[in-house]
Symmetry: C2
Subunit: 338 residues, 2 copies
DNA sequence: AACGTTATTAATATCGTTTTCTTAACTATG
DNA sequence: CATAGTTAAGAAAACGATATTAATAACGTT
């Protein structure tokens, strides 16, 4: 069943040349005669030769492998990032190996170390880590290029690809205030020790304050990006004496939790309460009513991160960047429009 | 910045032993004195040694890498499979490298060849390929264990992990007939040259026939798993003289397309038309009304496939299996229940 | 005391590449 | 025609690990 692998030696022998010559041909180097080149290529084709990558890696000290470390592949946001990264690097002839951290800080830490020990050429990381020492020391010590997506943390010598969370949140809330005249706006927020949560809340508050509406702490529910907690939060919000007129969900997961409760109780959107979400996914526009959101950026984010990483791998030495993507509003019916 | 990598030689020197001895210690082999073992481990720790995997692979002729080939990571169904596979194999100390085929047969073919040439130890494949020669010849020639998920194709010496599509479709339709008395049931189907599409249609037809309802070809729309085509199909169905009482979407993507049309036109579910879907994802239960579906199996599928593959990698020689997962109905309101 | 046995370590070969380093042959130049 | 320069190809070394084989030490047996 399993035959002996064809090596360069076999190809060389078949073509009647030395091994290094065969190597030179297959790597498209100069200084080989056309006759020999032809013979070697022909032999390689005939024998169906495929190079042994581990030998090549060993010699060349490069693996052509990229590490992608994310909290959850089965989350639309992250899997879209992975899609972009895979597409970009596949074309460049690099493989990506995937690490799923399950939102566990220790697993993330282990994943980073593992990736480094496997000599990946670069890492794209969607971090949930609060302890940045590991990251910092690995970057310092091994000099592996690192691009962090979605969350800003305090680490040097790293590129970031982020969403312009503050302004985006701001835009959503201003729409509610300016167009619909709402004043009682609640939000279901992510955790505040992640910049993507913190900044979104910042934008929310800024929009209120700029428009002379006092921030009401009761209207802010932290649901840690989770459906079940958002469900609970929605229940609490609707059982208040001073019910909000609108609920702003800071990601799509929490939107799902929120809508589950609303549908269960027969609360009408947007008549009884308006609903907004940050992320726009396919199903958001298929909801009844379709939900107002911001344009999708995950695909773009993956692509941008990949591009940046690629340039670093190829030795670009420029200042470390912090790219902010700024999606536009996608107005649908759940906010009360139309 | 980037220091010289620490090799086993350095460790050996530091510990004052030979290289092979250091190797034996780190691989937990017998025939080393406790004193030496301690010295080597200590040296390795002090120098922060990490093995060079390509060297190890070269010598051992094993890569500890699994290939996962799927049409689209950013599709919930497939990313959930990936999640299961990653979790399983991470624990076994194996990496997974991801190939996204973008639903393109040629890319899939290339991915398989690439995976093989990278000497992955096994492959998990969600295929859309109609030309099975490539698969067959690779399995034959290289003897790499292969587990195919979601679609049955005509290939020998391969394990399958599938959904019991015929019976599941049957269950859904029978529910519509028996409980709700519907007779005019349309379906939006996947392509029929994939078993997952063909078998679902088979179950649909069987349910009708077994209950004495003639199959009406006009009620069968092929939408190739796509949102846009499902949108179009829904439009066609609702513009028929003899409108269906219920629409059965064979996957969640097509459900989204279908619902988009229904919501846009203000068609009431389930009063004007009942709706069913095959796949159940988080958002399906957050829709208004929540949509009746079958239990999720994607996570389970990934795990099962990984287990099977792992056993093959470890040399299990038993008969090749065809595992069928059989999810139960999840009855919600979109079918007219409650 | 001589020998065999066993536990521990070292020396060497090997995996499949690519990178020097050489050497040979050919070309151009005066 | 001599000499330098260029092109083409091979020989040998290297990458970092492990497997195989050989060597040594310690020990018990007779």
């Amino acid at each position: 069943m399993k035959f002996k692998n064809i090596t360069l030696k076999d190809v060389a022998k078949e073509a009647g040349v030395s091994v290094p010559t065969a190597s030179r041909v297959l790597n498209n180097e100069k200084f080989v005669s056309d006759a020999v080149r032809e013979r070697v290529l022909d032999a390689a084709r005939r024998l169906n030769y495929t190079p042994e990558w581990s030998a090549r890696s060993l010699r060349l000290r490069k693996t052509d492998v990229i590490g992608v470390i994310i909290p959850n592949v089965a989350d639309y946001f992250f899997s879209s990032i992975v899609l972009g990264v895979e597409k970009f690097f596949r074309e460049k002839g690099k493989d990506i190996i995937l690490f799923n951290t399950s939102n566990d800080e220790r697993i993330e830490e282990r994943a980073i170390k593992l990736a480094v020990s496997k000599r990946v050429e670069g890492i794209i990381l969607a971090t949930i880590c609060r302890n940045h020492n590991v990251i910092e020391s690995l970057v310092e010590e091994f000099g592996i290029p690192l691009v962090i997506v979605d969350n800003k943390i305090d680490v040097k010598n790293v590129d970031f690809v982020l969403c312009d969370d503050v302004n985006c949140s701001f835009k959503l809330i201003e729409h509610l205030i300016n167009v619909h005249g709402y004043k009682k706006i609640a939000c279901i927020s992510g955790p505040l020790d992640e910049s993507s949560g913190f900044d979104k809340l910042l934008g929310y508050k800024k929009a209120l304050i700029d428009n002379g509406i006092p921030v009401k702490e009761d209207y802010i529910k932290i649901a840690y990006w989770k459906k079940s907690k958002a469900y609970e939060a929605t229940r609490e919000l609707l059982s208040m004496d001073n019910k909000p007129e609108a609920i702003y969900c800071m990601n799509a997961n929490m939107l799902i939790g929120c809508l589950r409760y609303l549908n269960e109780k027969g609360v009408k959107v947007p008549d009884d309460v308006a609903v907004l979400t940050f992320d726009d996914y396919d199903y958001v526009s298929a909801l009844n009513p379709p939900v107002t959101a911001l344009e999708r950026i995950d695909l773009d984010m993956g692509l941008k991160a990949a591009e940046l990483l690629y340039r670093r791998i190829n030795g670009e030495k420029s200042e470390y960047k912090e790219i902010r993507i700024s999606p536009e509003l996608v107005i649908r019916k759940s906010c009360g429009c139309k």
